[in-house]
């Protein structure tokens, strides 16, 4: 665990850069993390991010398949919005924990 300054805010992050506490998140933090990943956030990105945060708050696990069935985006779009990391990058930007695949 480390403290990092993102968009002028002091936040706690994990070794691979995910926020420790999703309540420390705000839109400016999202934009700056996205920039580091080479992504410019649009309204569509924020729709996905808000969906991810809602589900996480409700204690639900997330998979690419589930996001694809959410009605917010389909899987192809999700890949276009967050190239190379449809769930990992979107989760990082949304300030929620790194997705785990349980097997």
């Amino acid at each position: 665990m480390a403290v990092k300054t993102i968009a002028n805010a002091q936040v706690q992050v994990t070794d691979d850069g995910y926020l420790e506490d999703m309540n420390q998140w705000n839109e400016d933090i999202a934009k700056e993390i996205a920039k580091e990943l080479g992504i410019e956030l649009t309204d569509k990105h924020f729709e996905v991010i808000n969906y991810l945060r809602e589900k996480t708050k409700a204690g639900e696990g997330l998979t690419i398949r589930k996001v694809g069935k959410s009605g917010v985006v389909d899987i192809k779009e999700l890949y276009k919005l967050f190239p190379k990391g449809p769930l990992k990058f979107s989760s990082k930007i949304a300030g929620i924990p790194k997705p785990t695949s349980c097997i």
Binding site: T63, I64, R65, K66, K69, I75, K76, L78, Y79, P83, K84, P86, K88, T100, S101, C102, I103
Partner: protein, 410 residues
């Protein structure tokens, strides 16, 4: 008389039937089990069929062989569970009442969930080895395979026996070497995970093992469709991999019956308390085996360890006591790596697979995350243990809770 009803007579359901039948007072309890099929398959054996190591008869027995005399057995598809009424409806309308219910309906492959998978090339050049038919068809196809691209692809998470596809490519490597055509076969392991396996330490070890065997790993590949015309698999981010033979782990899902009963998540796995194995929705419903949405492997070994916990808890619930036992997610998998060798991984909800040795009293130790002959014998021995001990609900010399003895922290 009170009714204990078990749904599904596969590995977990049959095991629980045997365990509980011994324990319960027959004057007080009637025990019933329901399944749609009469044949019990030793599913871990499917892996060896394509290579001619096992034949159909090595992995097949009548389910009747494993039921205790006196238990009521019904062969019928199950339509749905109505938890509020403590009733199970069978297809055709028959209704069963229960006081306690155990769901053990497992998980099934769903090739139709992926566009182009169950199409022209299905069982011609595209095979799953997760079903008896797929494994037998692949055995035939391998016999006259002269070389080309063999692609192993995992379509979705979670799937049962997470190490099976790794074992499959290792066995294929050894098989084609033995046939003298290894230099003509390119083997590619395609996964939607970020490495050969999920958990970091095991992923690194298994990744290195595959590299050593000249098996190419393509990570982060999420299958969108199969192009039958051009014999390619295509991912959502539009990457393409050509194949001559495609072996696939199709999307795995729980029974539609679970969905109709309103008890499942979006993959039809029953929402289950990961410690007590009780349904999140009904206190008199318990869940075991692949059917549960537990965050651990879907494997026979997990069902075995969970069985001891379930037994303690359901007996307590029947007597109105608090549930005493907590499952830790213990999984223990042999990984067949070819040339008569194998590796072993042992882990739970919290501890990822670590290197070291696994202390099996009287037989072990087995090397954890190491490639040894002893581990291979463990796998071969497992078939005997499966038919004679595991499914019959007898005790094995392994503790339900994972032990840190012998493991090296890294």
């Amino acid at each position: 008389m009170k009714n204990l009803l078990i749904l599904g007579a596969g590995t977990a359901g049959t095991m629980m039937l045997n365990k509980l039948y011994k324990e319960l007072d027959k004057e007080e309890w009637k025990v019933t089990i329901v399944d749609q099929y009469k044949t019990h398959y030793y599913q871990p054996g499917f892996l060896f069929i394509p290579f001619g190591v096992y034949k159909k008869e090595d992995v097949t027995k009548p389910k009747y062989d494993f039921f205790p005399a006196g238990a009521e057995v019904i062969f019928s598809p199950i339509d749905k569970i109505v938890g509020e009424e403590n009733k199970v409806y069978l297809e055709g309308g028959k209704v069963l009442n229960y006081d306690f219910l155990i769901i053990a309906t497992g998980t099934q492959t769903r090739p139709s969930e992926t566009t182009g998978l169950k199409d022209k090339l299905w069982y011609k050049d595209i095979f799953d080895f997760y079903t008896i038919d797929g494994a037998l068809a692949l055995h035939k196809r391998f016999k006259d395979f002269k070389g080309g691209n063999l692609v192993m692809c995992i379509a979705e998470l979670p799937y049962k026996c997470p190490v099976a596809p790794i074992e499959f490519v290792c066995l294929a490597e050894a098989y084609f070497t033995k046939r003298g055509i290894r230099d003509k076969v390119n083997i590619t392991y395609v996964t939607l995970m970020s490495g050969a396996f999920t958990k970091p330490v095991a992923s690194k070890m298994l990744g290195e093992l595959l590299e050593e065997k000249n098996i190419k790993v393509v990570p982060d590949f999420y299958l969108e469709h199969v192009d039958n015309e051009n014999k390619k698999i295509v991912s959502y981010d539009e990457r393409e991999i050509p194949f001559d033979i495609l072996t696939i782990v199709p999307v795995n899902m729980g029974s539609d019956m679970i969905e109709r009963s309103g008890l499942g998540d979006d993959m039809n796995y029953v929402k289950t308390n990961k410690y007590t194995l009780q349904s999140d929705q009904f206190e008199n419903i318990f869940v075991i085996g692949d059917a549960a949405n537990l965050p651990t492997s879907k494997a026979g070994s997990v069902a075995h360890f969970a069985g001891e916990i379930l037994m303690e808890n359901i007996l307590a619930a029947m007597e109105g006591r608090e549930l005493p036992a907590k499952f830790d997610g213990h999984a223990n998998c042999y990984i067949e790596t070819g040339y008569g060798k194998g590796a072993l991984i042992d882990f739970n909800y919290i501890t990822e697979p670590l290197p070291g040795t696994f202390p099996l009293p009287g037989i072990g130790p087995f090397g954890l995350l190491k490639n040894t002959k002893m581990n291979h014998y463990g796998k071969i021995l497992f078939r005997w243990i499966y038919w004679h001990i595991l499914v019959k609900g007898k005790e094995l010399p392994i503790e339900a809770d994972m032990t840190m003895a012998g493991k090296q922290r890294v």
